[in-house]
């Protein structure tokens, strides 16, 4: 408890220019693959925007880097305290350096495209609306960079979230093949969320065939949307943000 109190009150003891530089080197090895070489996000959130959704104090940053953030893709790290503080110093140095936003689209038109022409709600959820066959996008703007969002629309097969790996199973006794998202698999069972939204268990010994492929259930929208549409859609998706939890 005392330690927690101490940490929550503590400010970063390693903030010199050398510390920031050292933090940048650590960041390059441990953080850049998700948050981008310049900290402007990618698969992981933008760290340069000044918006930090899981706590914005030095102590929050320290804790999140050390322990990871439960319920997100942010893993724990094995960095020693000095290095942790140096990364905090580097992340702080990014704040306010954000380049002019690359978002030029029209949020409201993007929303219309999302709900209308794109038919995106058939598979994705936003708030209380939408389907379950694709990732929930309610707060996707907090997690993904605009560039990543655009790539996900144009080349969805490039990066498939672990929860959306597909398997198609054919039963030995015939019948219709079932396609679904793999929820769990071991030597004996394959558990799917099928495309009708049912949770189903298949015993592998009763299967004629299991096909797992790396395709995305989402088609590419290249050609469906023109460049202006894409900018508007990205603007809308980027606006779907969560409020700070603490």
């Amino acid at each position: 408890m005392l330690i927690l109190l101490f940490l929550s009150l503590q400010t970063n003891p390693h903030t010199s220019a050398d510390d920031v530089e050292a933090g940048k080197r650590v960041y390059r090895v441990h953080c850049a693959s998700c948050h981008g070489a310049d900290g402007r996000g990618g698969r992981g959130p933008d760290l340069a925007s000044g918006e930090l959704y899981h706590g914005a104090t030095d102590a929050d940053l320290y804790r999140n880097i050390e322990d990871g953030i439960p319920g997100t893709e942010m893993p724990a790290s094995w960095l020693v305290p000095k290095r942790l503080w140096q990364v905090v110093a580097f992340v702080r140095s990014l704040s306010g350096t954000e380049a002019p936003s690359s978002i030029r689209g029209d949020v409201s038109r993007g929303q219309d495209l999302f709900r209308g022409k794109g038919g995106c709600l058939q598979c994705h959820r936003v708030g209380r609306e939408g389907g379950f066959a694709g990732p929930d996008l309610s707060t996707v703007g907090s997690r993904r960079s605009p560039e990543h969002l655009k790539a996900s629309i144009v080349t969805p097969e490039e990066e498939i979230s672990l929860d959306y790996r597909i398997a198609t199973v054919s039963l030995s006794n015939g019948g219709v093949a079932t396609t679904g998202y793999v929820r769990n698999e071991d030597r004996h069972y394959l558990l799917l969320l099928d495309l009708e939204g049912k949770l189903r268990t298949f015993e592998k010994s009763g299967l004629q065939k299991v096909e797992k492929d790396r395709r995305s259930m989402m088609q590419s929208y290249e050609g469906v949307f023109d460049d202006a549409d894409l900018e508007d859609l990205v603007a809308y998706l980027a606006s779907l943000r969560k409020t700070r939890t603490h």
Binding site: A22, R25, V26, R28, V29, H30, S33, S77, W78, L79, V80, P81, K82, L162, E185, D186, R187, H188
Partner: protein, 537 residues
């Protein structure tokens, strides 16, 4: 007359409860007990018991469950004359009736809050001698407990936990000494193997696995890097009483993934070492990976076998190493006899005539990361292999996996992690798979594979009835046909993903023993130890 008989019986049972050095030497002669971490000094994790057979194993059913406070349970219990002794995470000990699972006593150790246990607050078991149990602790003490009461007989500090030292492995009882290894390869410790007087706790000898200036091998370390060279000894070794040799494995040099400041072979990291049991003097060593920069510890259980080698009887050591090669060594001299990959390996094209790896180019960790087979958890790891004299096969659990190795700057601060990089344990694009695997120990040839989707984190037990028992990361406990690898029985004990570091709920190695005149099999999963018996005796 009846009184006399009763007294005799009482005396006999009292005398029996003493685990004398002679009993440990002849552990094979009392298959109803499980007297050391690996079952006997040769570390075969093989039981001569044969009441559970390939024909009746399908009748196995739950007998009792022993619940604990915490995962991850990595302990191998000891069973002595009807009493089971086991450690519970982090450093508790319980004594149970082996037949009913009911608890006689529990020892609960109070631990400091600032422990340095990088990779889980785990413990792998006890050693016993006389009426005393011995446990190494996460705060790097060796504790002696009275087996009748759980009272502390003595408690000595082995090393300073604040500097990253910890004990996670089970000690080994040899003669009148208790031999213990040390963990801390991620903290820049200077590794060693220690022996303590079982009666008094007085240290009898220490062998440093990283030599100081003036000692043989110090010139394999650049500058002062030997002071923080790692080479821990965190898994229990074996003992050859005829050669009076303790054979033990050593872990990675520190820092793990950046070797720039420790140029040289870094002896005796990643090695098999053989020490004189009375003095701790080094008799031979064999280094599996000179100048390791991938954290490929040689912390496997050394399997000691006397067999024919090229037509002549020879004392051998069988060793499937974390880096993916299987080795046969001469136990008298440490000479390399044979080696071959037992899993997919992309970091070396083979072994040279001395058993040293022929490294492929571009395998050292970089800032961007280098992807190799095997990944950092290895093609196998600390969990026990098994050797069956019945089938003549060497069994192990293996990971076929690829991982990413990154290099980072590093700076030593006592008690802080000293890693020099980072890792990605599993790559989603290439998930790999696990297997229970049987090798011909003479050739390293794979005889059969029992494939698993998840990667196992538990070891293997074989029995005289040609059965193999093994656990899986998926939560299943299996009995397989030792000859063919065919599944004969399984039970789902659940709890995958409960472990630390993405490790498994099932993270120990099974044992078998007699209690109440019946053969039982025990395996831990999640927070509990599960014990099975045949439905029909």
């Amino acid at each position: 007359m009846r009184t006399t008989l009763l007294l005799l019986v009482l005396c006999a049972s009292t005398a029996r409860a003493q685990v004398t050095p002679a009993r440990l030497l002849d552990a094979e002669k009392e298959p109803g007990n499980w007297l050391t971490y690996s079952g006997n000094y040769k570390s075969w994790r093989f039981s001569p018991l044969d009441r559970i057979t390939r024909e009746n194993v399908h009748q196995l059913r739950l007998k009792w469950v022993h619940q604990m406070r915490n995962p991850q349970v990595e302990t191998t219990p000891l069973v002595v004359d009807g009493v089971m002794y086991l450690t519970e995470p982090p450093n508790d000990v319980a004594a149970l009736d082996a037949e009913t699972g009911r608890v006689f006593w529990r020892y609960r150790r109070s631990l400091p809050t600032d422990l340095r246990a990088c990779c889980g607050k785990v413990n792998r078991g006890l050693a016993m001698q006389g009426e005393t149990l011995f446990m190494g602790t996460l705060d790097a003490h060796l504790v002696a407990l009275d087996a009748r009461t759980g009272d502390v007989a003595w408690d000595v500090e082995v090393a300073d936990y604040r500097k990253g030292y910890a004990i996670t492995g089970a000690p080994l009882s040899v003669k009148n000494q208790i031999v213990t290894g040390i963990a801390g390869g991620e903290y820049g410790i200077r590794g060693f193997l220690d022996a303590y007087d079982a009666e008094t706790g007085e240290r009898k000898w220490r062998f440093y696995t990283v030599p100081a200036p003036g000692e043989h091998g110090n010139d394999t370390w650049e500058g002062d890097s030997w002071k923080t060279g790692g080479a821990p000894t965190w898994v229990t070794g074996s003992y050859d009483p005829e050669l009076n040799l303790i054979v033990w494995g050593t872990g990675n040099p520190s820092p793990d993934w950046n070797g720039d400041d420790r140029e040289g072979d870094n002896l005796y990291s990643d090695s098999a070492i053989a020490l004189d049991a009375d003095t701790g003097e080094l008799k031979w060593h064999f280094q599996f990976v000179p100048h390791d920069v991938h954290d490929w510890d040689a912390v496997q259980v050394p399997v000691l076998v006397d067999g024919d080698w090229e037509g002549r009887p020879r004392r051998l050591v069988y060793w499937a190493h974390r880096g993916g090669f299987y080795y046969v060594l001469d136990r008298t001299t440490g000479q390399f006899l044979f080696g071959t990959p037992f899993a997919n390996v992309t970091w070396a094209s083979g072994l040279d005539e001395n058993g040293h790896p022929i490294r492929n180019p571009g395998i050292d960790p970089t800032e961007e990361g280098v992807a190799l087979w095997p990944g950092v958890q290895g093609a196998t790891n600390w969990y026990s292999p098994s050797y069956s004299p019945e089938t003549g096969l060497f069994y192990l659990t293996a990971w076929e996996n690829k991982g990413l190795y990154r290099k980072d700057d590093t700076e030593y601060n006592a008690g802080d992690l000293f890693l020099g990089g980072g890792i990605e344990i599993e790559l989603p694009e290439e998930p790999g798979y696990g297997a229970v695997r049987a090798l011909d120990p003479k050739t390293g040839r794979k005889v059969w594979d029992f494939e698993l989707v998840g990667k196992p984190w538990s070891g293997v037990l074989s029995t005289a009835s040609r059965l193999v028992f093994a656990g899986s990361h998926e939560g299943y406990f299996y009995a397989l046909d030792g000859e063919s690898g065919k599944e004969l029985w399984r039970v789902y004990l659940g709890g995958s993903d409960l472990g630390s570091l993405g490790g498994a709920a099932m993270a120990t190695s099974p044992i078998t023993y007699l209690a109440g005149g019946r053969q039982l099999v025990s395996m831990a999963s999640g927070h509990a130890l599960f014990t099975f018996e045949l439905a029909e005796p």
